[in-house]
């Protein structure tokens, strides 16, 4: 079969990489230079294909000189294909930029071809080598695509928040930042959010609600988790498994009765309402995570302490809590994140702008009267604290999440 031959692999890898990088670099060019560039995948497909064949034929004699020559030849070929006017640009629009763009496309394509075809011979390949080739290709493509699709919305979020209205309308694609502009024009949306849109209040409210939620949650879940992990009592198993089932009840099912009841008792439009509802959703999560952690601690210490005459309550305060401080801090931060990110209850319950949380406040920016960059600046403000906590928490979250403490 033809696809089992190294030659086919080289054609395949060359054309895939050529096309892929052509698309990526054209997009990057549009976004960084803010000029229209026409996408033409055919040229790079052919150039990549040729370079693939070239590589597999002379990979044994390859040297730095050959690398450089090939990259320049590829660049030259792009110019030749377009009769000296790549991307169909007629004016002398920053020709050096265009040259750099094409040169980078060629270089990255060439490096990718080198990477995927390394140690692939031209003849028929063994099944192991063949699958190795395809997996390597998929691995590299997959990794790049994953990083791009994860980053692009965040990139757009940050860049949009730094633009101003005119330039956004003029050219939605121009994400080139004017480095010369001063702090005030660059961060204009942020300054306006804090001066005209009460974002300082929203930040304080969100922070307050999240902190109180963390406090209440830990206050009740630490003793509860200790009881679940150490004490013997009837229907303990049932209790543990019903904790998991509480996870599965969505707030949308609870929101109507809560709305009705809180409206009737006049609690609805208040931060107190959030402080009552949030812990109910976070306590099961915290209980579950902390129970897992307490169980992993050896119970012999507890037994020794019991022998020495400490009561169970003393053990919780003097032994269990000090021993599991890192886990408690992490669970606390995780609960903070859940409360900080919560949207539905805050959206339904809060009407009064002075008590909005960040999520609710950003929702109020979503109207045609408020420019997009304000909305995105709000999104950035809401995301930054979570990111900071995440960087601190990453290791724990990864182990904690994957041992079962999952919550939307």
């Amino acid at each position: 079969m033809f696809w089992k031959y190294g030659l086919f692999c080289s054609i395949f890898a060359g054309s895939i990489w050529g096309t892929f990088w052509q698309i990526i670099f054209t997009m990057m060019g549009i976004l960084t230079f803010g000029i229209p560039l026409e996408l033409d995948v055919n040229q790079m497909l052919i150039i990549g294909l040729v370079s693939g064949i070239f590589y597999i034929n002379c990979q044994k004699i390859i040297s730095m000189k050959i690398h450089l020559t090939t990259i320049f030849t590829m660049t030259l070929l792009v110019y030749m294909f377009n009769f000296g006017k790549p991307y169909q640009i007629n004016e002398s629009l920053n020709n050096i930029n265009i040259f750099i763009l094409i040169f980078l496309t060629s270089a990255v394509t060439w490096i990718s071809i080198n990477y995927s075809l390394n140690k692939i011979s031209i003849g028929k390949l063994s099944r192991y080598d063949l699958e190795g080739f395809y997996i390597k290709l998929m691995w590299a493509l997959g990794l790049i695509i994953f990083i791009l699709i994860t980053l692009v919305p965040f990139y757009i979020m940050i860049m949009t928040s730094l633009k101003n209205q005119q330039s956004l309308i003029l050219n939605p694609l121009d994400f080139s930042l004017n480095i010369n502009s001063d702090f005030k024009t660059l961060f204009n949306s942020y300054i306006e959010l804090f001066t005209d849109f009460n974002f300082h209040l929203f930040l304080i409210n969100s922070f307050f609600v999240s902190c109180v939620t963390v406090f209440i949650t830990l206050f009740f879940s630490i003793p509860g988790a200790y009881a679940l992990s150490r004490l013997r009592f009837p229907s303990k198993k049932l209790f543990s498994s019903s904790v998991i089932l509480i996870y599965l009840i969505p707030s949308i099912v609870l929101v109507i009765p809560l709305y009705a009841i809180f409206s009737q008792i006049g609690l609805r439009n208040s931060l107190l309402a959030l402080i009552i509802v949030y812990p109910a959703t976070t306590i099961p999560v915290a209980l579950y995570m902390l129970r897992g952690y307490f169980s992993s601690l050896s119970s012999e210490i507890d037994d020794a302490a019991l022998m020495d005459g400490l009561s169970r309550v003393q053990i919780i305060f003097k032994i269990a809590i000090p021993l599991s401080k890192p886990a408690i801090v992490s669970v606390g931060l995780y609960v903070f994140m859940i409360a900080w990110n919560e949207f539905l209850i805050a959206f339904m319950f809060l009407d009064d702008p002075s008590i909005f949380t960040l999520s609710r406040g950003i929702m109020s920016l979503n109207s045609s009267e408020v420019p997009q960059q304000h909305l995105m600046a709000g999104a950035v403000i809401a995301t930054i604290p979570v990111m900071i906590i995440f960087l601190y928490l990453e290791k724990f979250l990864i182990s904690g999440l994957s041992t079962g403490g999952v919550k939307e």
Binding site: E38, L173, L231, I252, L254, I276, A379, V386, S402
Partner: protein
């Protein structure tokens, strides 16, 4: 039998049991009152003819006015009390209102005359029943006396106080099946069901497959792996409102990057309203195929946001697989795909099935994402969005609760499956 058990139980056990109950009591109490009670209340509400407006309790609104001029002694003027029931639905019962008449006024006549009494300048009117929507008037004919000349009392210094009883729709025993009838008979029910199923199945399966792929990629060790692993979790941990809006802006038909990019690269001629267009025609080999665009975009968002979770679980599971199994397979000459198919996949099938069930339930319950992206328009209305739509957009709380009951029923079935599997020891 129970007695025997109790007798044998040592004192320590009893003490432990009490302590455990004491330690767990606050949790039980909070969960019962904020989760279980509302859940039951939701069933209650779903059988009630209740709208959003009914949450405001009916009120008696009273306005007092002075008609005529009080310049001369012996000249008559009138005090008008106009009262109105604020509710369009519910009667007010045992209505009594009181007001203090200023000292400077002498009351000559009260119309209608049998409802009110005067005692030491205290007016007490027993209106008994004020039916819904109705209003009425009480007129006092007054003259001024000497006291008024000196002090010029203002009538409005004292406001009338009222007391009345009204039916609270939440606690009354008025029931109806209309909500369920409305939910099930609506032509959109089938549509909502279909959309929910598509969204749940494709969202869950997509996030799992993408997560599995990501886990395969991240399993290989390379420079910056920890960094990339953290990066891939960003969509999952960020506030939903931030990422949903950045998607909306990214795909905006007027100023979105994707549309402008596609137009500039000559891929499309007209901007596409990704989140607002129900169908887009795609022709494959001459056949025109209606592709549900907005729903697919919402599913894509769901996959983008939740693949990190599956990826994390699967990666953690894979890393617990001993290396030497793969080494042995390598020596035996197993190809990479064979290694994946015969070693990794059977090892992962447990975590994948449990993730599928969990994510299936959560995706089915998802509200925020769809609501923020499309508002449930353009063929993306799932059951959860329908709860909001019925209860808060159309203001029919009862119908919204009925939809929530439907969700809960589905949830119960899914949970039973989940429990059955978790008993098998998969979880």
């Amino acid at each position: 039998m129970f007695n025997k058990f109790k007798k044998n139980e040592s004192k320590l056990h009893q003490k432990e049991r009490k302590l455990a109950f004491f330690l767990l009591f606050p949790t039980i109490f909070i969960v019962l009152s904020i989760v279980i009670f509302p859940l039951l209340a939701n069933f209650w509400i779903s059988f009630k003819p209740i709208s959003l407006g009914d949450l405001r309790p009916p009120k008696l609104i009273i306005k007092e006015n002075l008609r005529g001029k009080l310049i001369n002694k012996d000249k008559t003027a009138e005090i008008h009390y106009r009262y109105r029931n604020s509710s369009a639905k519910y009667d007010l019962n045992n209505v009594i209102f009181n007001d203090t008449i200023p000292k400077g006024f002498n009351i000559k006549k009260i119309e209608p005359n049998n409802t009110c009494e005067i005692k030491d300048k205290n007016l007490t009117c027993n209106l008994e029943k004020v039916p819904a929507k109705s209003s009425g008037k009480i007129i006092l004919k007054i003259t001024t006396n000497d006291y008024w000349k000196k002090n010029k009392d203002n009538l409005k210094n004292t406001r009338p106080t009222t007391s009345y009883q009204s039916k609270n729709i939440l606690t009354s025993f008025e029931f109806t099946f209309d909500n369920f009838k409305k939910v099930f008979s609506a032509t959109e029910f089938i549509q909502v069901l279909k959309v929910s199923i598509y969204y749940t199945i494709f969202g869950t399966a997509g996030a799992l497959l993408v997560g599995l792929f990501a886990a395969q990629i991240l399993q290989k060790s390379f420079k910056g792996r920890t960094f990339v692993r953290g990066l891939l979790l960003f969509p999952y941990i960020s506030p939903v409102i931030a990422v949903a809006f950045s998607w909306v802006i990214l795909f905006d038909p007027f100023s979105g990057v994707v549309n402008s990019m596609l137009i500039q690269m000559n891929v499309i001629d007209k901007p596409i309203n990704f989140f607002g267009q129900k169908y887009i025609d795609i022709s494959i080999f001459g056949y025109i195929f209606k592709f549900p665009l907005a729903l697919s975009m919402v599913i894509a968002f769901e996959i983008w946001r939740y693949f990190p979770l599956s990826f994390l679980f699967i990666l953690a599971r894979m890393q617990s697989l001993p290396e030497d199994v793969f080494d042995a397979a390598e020596i035996d000459g197993a190809s990479p795909f064979q290694q994946f198919y015969y070693i990794s996949l059977p090892f992962l099938i447990g975590i994948i099935s449990i993730l599928f069930l969990l994510r299936f339930i959560w995706t089915f319950n998802k509200f925020d994402d769809i609501f923020l992206l499309t508002g449930g328009n353009a063929g993306t209305r799932t059951f959860t969005v329908n709860v909001y739509e019925q209860a808060f957009a159309i203001s029919n709380l009862g119908a919204g609760a009925a939809v929530a009951v439907v969700i809960f029923t589905f949830l119960l079935v899914f949970s039973l499956v989940f429990i059955k599997y978790s008993k098998k020891g998969v979880f």
